[in-house]
């Protein structure tokens, strides 16, 4: 039974990829905590973390200041980077299946812009009338609104083909961005600098108390997407074929879009607009583990987290001690990747 042997080796390759990915993730988190304006050696990072889990395991040779930098600032930031990277990557992977377009990405489809619009509306105009939940909720509603707008525009313009759906997304993205700019223009000029954060993306606001929201959304929505991996596979063949396989295509696509808006909205609420993660990561992951969404989704989450951790490390070190907005880093890398992808698709 050589066939089964090959099958097992594919499974083994996936497990090996995931195992290496987890090791790489742990290493990346450690480095992300280590580097910055104040450098913390790796063994101190691990000492602090181990002592957090099991107090007094390792003798404390480091200052309280270092300890609080690790615990209060850098660790939550590294976790937020992981959640956002994982979330955006699985949204990109899922949208690519239901739009049958490998270029689909929450940023390109205007979903991120919608999220930023909602966040800006809450920050500059409505005030925090729902407490801490205001910004995430508004970001989700903005992302959902932009998503429905993309679907409506694609219906209106009969642009349901995969490539034209992306164009509809780009159009909506421009419109929503302009609306967001109007909000900034009309808003209190003293508050606008906080808004720039959402436009350019950044992980500097990470706090322990808020990490629960992105984590919950990531686990719930990510789990639901994973359960639907088989249907996502079927959607890559085509709408009609997926229908003949018993999938209610229009409803399923809408549910994926809404789930994508939920994840993207919440991630944007905590990190601003970070583009191209959802475009790049699933592509690289497919080269490693193949096209089955049962493998693509978890691997995308893992490598999305790693990718964003390193983007953040670059953003924090390249102009140290200044924090460069992470959206600039992912935009530069992602844009170059996009160009490479276009060239590769042509040949």
């Amino acid at each position: 039974m050589t066939e089964t042997a090959v099958d097992i080796s594919r499974n083994r390759k996936f497990r090996l990829t995931m195992f290496c990915g987890v090791i790489l993730l742990l290493f990346s988190v450690s480095v992300a905590i280590s580097v910055g304006a104040v450098s913390v050696p790796l063994h101190v990072v691990w000492g602090v973390l181990i002592n957090k889990i099991a107090p007094d395991t390792i003798e404390q040779t480091w200052s309280v200041g270092r300890q609080s930098i690790v615990c209060e600032i850098r660790f939550p930031r590294a976790l937020l980077a992981s959640f956002v990277g994982a979330g955006l990557a699985i949204v990109g992977a899922s949208l690519q299946a239901v739009t049958r377009n490998p270029l689909a990405d929450p940023h390109l489809l205007g979903i991120s812009s919608g999220g930023a619009f909602g966040a800006i509306l809450a920050l500059l105009h409505t005030g925090m009338f729902l407490g801490l939940l205001t910004v995430p909720l508004f970001a989700f509603l903005g992302a959902l609104g932009a998503t429905l707008l993309v679907l409506a525009v694609s219906q209106f313009a009969s642009a349901t083909s995969a490539d034209r759906l992306i164009l509809a997304g780009v159009a909506v993205s421009f419109i929503v961005m302009s609306l967001a700019n109007i909000l900034i223009f009309l808003g209190d000029p003293r508050a606008t600098h906080t808004v720039v954060f959402w436009m350019l993306g950044g992980l500097g606001l990470a706090q322990w108390s808020q990490l629960l929201y992105p984590l919950t959304i990531l686990l719930l929505c990510g789990g639901w997407l994973w359960l639907n991996a088989g249907n996502l596979n079927a959607m890559t063949i085509g709408d009609e074929t997926a229908t003949t396989l018993g999938i209610p295509v229009a409803r399923f696509r809408l549910m994926i879009f809404v789930t994508g808006a939920l994840i993207t909205g919440v991630m944007v609420a905590f990190s601003g607009i970070i583009g191209f993660v959802g475009l790049m990561v699933p592509h690289i992951v497919r080269m490693l583990v193949g096209g089955d969404y049962l493998r693509v989704l978890p691997a995308s989450a893992l490598f999305g987290a790693i990718y964003l951790l390193w983007s953040d490390i670059i953003a924090r070190t390249i102009m140290a001690p200044e924090d460069m907005p992470i959206g600039i880093v992912t935009g530069l890398i992602g844009g170059a990747f996009f160009v490479w992808l276009l060239r590769r698709r042509d040949t």
Binding site: P102, E240, T244, L245, G246, G290, D292
Partner: protein, 260 residues
């Protein structure tokens, strides 16, 4: 896989209620295990007709009965367990392997969110063997030739264990060798098959019955030699058609010429 009969009762289709019909009411019956060819010029309504049979576009009027049951009465999954389709849609560059695509055929038979089990693997193996795809089962679908890809799509449909198979222009874009292979395959499957074909000689050779469409109207339904008559074909396709006997194989063959 027990083939089921197909009965179309006065099915018609319009894009919306008040718009003119693109397909006017048509009725026909296909007995279990028979092959029905759907022919007609471009825009005749062939794809529209097929879409109602593989449950993609709901008929504006009429019923589609497979094995005596209306496929539009139940959920899409129930219909998907009976009717499979090989369409012209080409999967994008998503890196699915041949085996993964064929396994998709098990989708309507899955319980809830369960993943394919050993019984499914056996069915997939059979489908792969039947289409002679076993040696390339782990290849990326995107790297296959047109003929191989078409065979993968047929294997996928077989893994669905349908009672009725719908094929939309299965010989399109294939070279002669692969066209002939697909045709001999259609004959050998032992399923009830509805297939749209451009080539009338192929239709005459492979089908038990032919349905001829033109501008959304049925122009004939019956045995190939009756429907594909010189007069009927000439009128429907706006050509001059001659039924000729090929000297070497001594078989009838339609030849086509532009009218004067």
């Amino acid at each position: 896989m027990k083939p089921a009969g197909l009965i179309a009762e006065n099915i018609s289709w319009a894009p919306r209620k008040n718009l003119p019909k693109l397909l006017h009411p048509v009725s026909f019956e296909v007995k279990p295990g028979q092959v029905l060819g759907v022919v007609g010029p471009n825009g005749a309504g062939k794809s529209t007709l097929l879409r109602m049979i593989y449950r993609y576009q709901a008929p504006t009027s009429g019923r589609v009965l497979v094995g005596g049951e209306d496929i539009w009465a139940g959920p899409p999954r129930a219909a998907a367990r009976k009717v499979a389709a090989v369409l012209q849609e080409q999967p994008g560059a998503f890196g699915l392997s041949v085996r993964e695509v064929v396994t998709l055929g098990r989708t309507p038979h899955r319980l809830g969110y369960s993943t394919p089990g050993a019984a499914d693997a056996e069915i997939v193996n059979n489908a792969l063997d039947r289409m002679e795809l076993r040696h390339i089962e782990f290849r990326d679908l995107g790297n296959l030739s047109g003929g191989e890809r078409q065979r993968v799509m047929v294997a996928r449909a077989l893994a669905q264990q349908p009672q009725l198979l719908v094929m939309d222009e299965p010989t399109n874009h294939l070279d002669i060798r692969h066209q002939l292979e697909i045709l001999s395959l259609i004959r050998s499957l032992g399923l009830t098959i509805v297939v749209s074909l451009h080539d009338l000689n192929m239709a005459a050779e492979v089908c038990d019955a032919v349905l001829m469409l033109q501008d959304g109207h049925c122009r004939g339904f019956g045995a190939p030699e009756d429907v594909l008559s010189e007069a009927q074909v000439s009128q429907t396709f706006r050509v001059k058609a001659w039924r000729e006997v090929l000297s070497r194989s001594n078989t009838e063959h339609l030849s086509f010429h532009l009218p004067d």
